[in-house]
Symmetry: C2
Subunit: 415 residues, 2 copies
């Protein structure tokens, strides 16, 4: 038995104790928050090793910043843990129920998924965030973080395990794979005997590798080639505000937009207004021929590749379309199914857009940047699913659960 399989076995055992752990789960979360604060120095020392290695290995300033933990960030993580503790426990919720004609009573109740695997990159805060969401929803978790953060991750995990044990739960409820070789992540992806679901959190490369290689059920997260369509009837200033917000407030995140589609009857008036707003942040535009005819040669000519690209940067593709239908067909072809918006005053067009655009979040006159568990009122978020199975859009605690049927009777048999 390999180490990963042994971890799977231990996680499965821990997951059975979590089925009926009730309020002990919150005791564990509170103990984790306290321990993270009390051991901030220890975490910062471990993180220092990762940062030094990162500098030696030539990590970019942006990556080093993501990797860095200081007292303020650790307190932020601990606050987040307490927020999760304060959320209602999803486990045991009765989803539906009925009494069948033969008198047997059927109740559908929410139960944990069991054992969850999380594969993520060099963000040590994910170690605690993901672990406590899994724990709160009654799941054991096996974490596999990036090698850049391994010392931070180990330190945080040991602190959490001790805290979990102090609350009377199985310390193997949270485990970290310390071997950061490619082999260990492959073994996790093939852990069919123990893993109920694997959730990758990170860039496109990571997610595609997991989808391609996993033998266990996967929830795809994060890819966001998002669109704003400016309808013929749009309020131009509203369109410019929404596009400015959706592109520039945080270009690296998945709910930021990458392409705007502008109806030809409003393009001549709208595009200069939109460009003026985006110029404030020096957003590079890549436009179709009609866009360039209106905005001039300074706009880079867009190629087929631009419609397909998640820039994650201050770059925006622009296309003039001749109809709402052309816009929704463009979205159907190029979107990753994350978030799309129509800006319109036209009731019918709004309804056509929301019914024909098949993405996790479809907006009318609202910035796509709201696709987020916190903004949607879920209280917490483990990621944003861009697949259609099990969970779609922001995933909160409920999305980390399954359900079962309980059937009670007095001797019913099937005739």
């Amino acid at each position: 038995m390999t180490t990963i399989q042994e971890m799977g076995k231990k996680a499965k055992i821990a997951s059975r104790t979590l089925l009926t752990a009730g309020e002990k789960k919150n005791d564990a979360l509170k103990a984790i928050a306290k321990a993270l604060r009390e051991n901030a120095d220890k975490i910062i020392s471990a993180n220092k090793i990762d940062l030094d290695n990162g500098v030696a290995n030539g990590l970019s300033a942006a990556l080093l910043d993501r990797l860095k933990l200081d007292e303020k960030r650790i307190n932020g993580i601990a606050d987040g843990v307490l927020n999760v503790a304060a959320l209602p426990d999803p486990i045991g919720t009765v989803i539906s129920g009925s009494t069948r004609p033969n008198g047997m009573e059927i109740t559908k109740v929410r139960v944990p998924l069991g054992v969850i695997g999380i594969i993520f990159e060099a963000r040590p805060n994910v170690t605690a965030d993901a672990a406590v969401l899994c724990l709160k929803s009654g799941n054991a978790v096996i974490l596999r973080g990036g090698k850049e953060a391994i010392n931070s991750n180990k330190c945080i995990t040991y602190i959490m395990q001790d805290a979990i044990e102090s609350a009377g739960l199985d310390r193997n409820s949270v485990q970290l794979i310390e071997d950061t070789s490619r082999q260990s992540s492959i073994e996790l992806m093939e852990l069919t005997d123990y893993l109920d679901v694997l959730i990758p959190r990170g860039g496109k490369g990571l997610i595609q590798a997991v989808v391609k290689n996993a033998r266990v059920p996967v929830i795809e997260t994060g890819a966001g080639n998002c669109h704003v369509y400016v309808d013929e009837s749009a309020d131009i200033n509203m369109a410019a505000d929404i596009i400015y917000n959706a592109k520039t407030s945080r270009p690296s995140v998945c709910n930021a937009i990458e392409t705007i589609l502008v109806h030809e009857n409003i393009a001549e008036k709208a595009l200069p207004v939109i460009k003026a707003r985006l110029d404030e942040k020096n957003v590079e535009l890549r436009g179709c021929e009609k866009t360039r005819a209106i905005l001039g040669e300074s706009v880079v000519p867009a190629t087929e590749l631009d419609w397909d690209t998640e820039y994650g940067d201050y770059i925006l593709a622009v296309k003039v379309v001749s109809s709402l239908h052309e816009a929704t067909e463009h979205i159907a072809k190029y979107s990753t199914g994350h978030s799309e918006c129509i800006v319109t005053k036209d009731y019918k067009n709004a309804k056509i857009f929301t019914s024909t655009v098949d993405s996790a979040a479809v907006y009318v006159n609202v910035s796509t940047r709201f696709t987020d568990g916190g903004m949607f009122g879920l209280g917490a978020e483990i990621g944003i699913s861009t697949q259609k199975l099990h969970a779609r859009g922001p995933m909160g605690l409920n999305e980390l659960t399954s359900m079962k049927f309980i059937i009670e009777g007095d001797g019913q048999v099937r005739i």
Copy 2:
């Protein structure tokens, strides 16, 4: 582009028209039912070729019977189609909704999954059953049936496609892969660009092959190593009735039981009563040492393998256990997570059993044979999921859907 990829592309196009097909879906179902009846002779002729080939290839009598279609069975299929037409349309159902503090209105609505793949074996009735459930729930479907039924499947599919077209929908809403080579099913399992989910329907070998090879999301169905635990306090006659029903009413199906666990304090009284009932159907018992000490040498000694086997036959493994805990641990170790039952008069033991047994359906004093979409009141069933993601237990129309968020506002941006 391979044929399978072309089919995927066509299915995707069809799925977009189904998003807003509304009542036309029911028109199509009614047209299918009518066309199946009107073309019964044609179907029977095509089926005759499959049956002749089956005889020539030495198929067993049981398989030939499953393969066979006659007028009565075709009418039964058509009746089933009309039953599905009469069910409420799941699409567009509002699951939940709220207005956020910034005034944006969020509505979570049920939408189709998109494109569903179904891989099944030599049961031509599945062709129509699966297709109409997918169609009713707004999904395009690609069917891949076994080679034994290929002539029947082709005939039924063409009839359905014509009927769908006559109702004004895209005939590619239902497609059949006519190439029954191993290669075609591999390509279907790897059709990540087009397939939203793949559902295997058939025996253990088929399901395991799909889980192992698929790159698309899969819903595992059907494996059922189910248990009845006879508690110390059980009503012995009720236990015998339930065991008799759960084992012998249809031994080949997945909700039939394979092992019974009997508390040692009741074993001496209960086992002879249970055996007497099972003897009526000549059920072979394979027992642990304690079982054999009570029931005698005629009981075959059980080995480790017996606890792990889904016999699907008139064979039952029997184990005497010393506690409820030993029973639930045995179930945790060997169960496939389908259906388990406790027979008990003890309230506390019933509650411990239902909270600690982690299977799709957990019964108290009711036969496991009720795990079925019809029996649970779902109106129809595409299969019984034994995984925890997306759907668990009997899958009806709701389980063939996804959902999306619609967010409406008047210019909200994220600060």
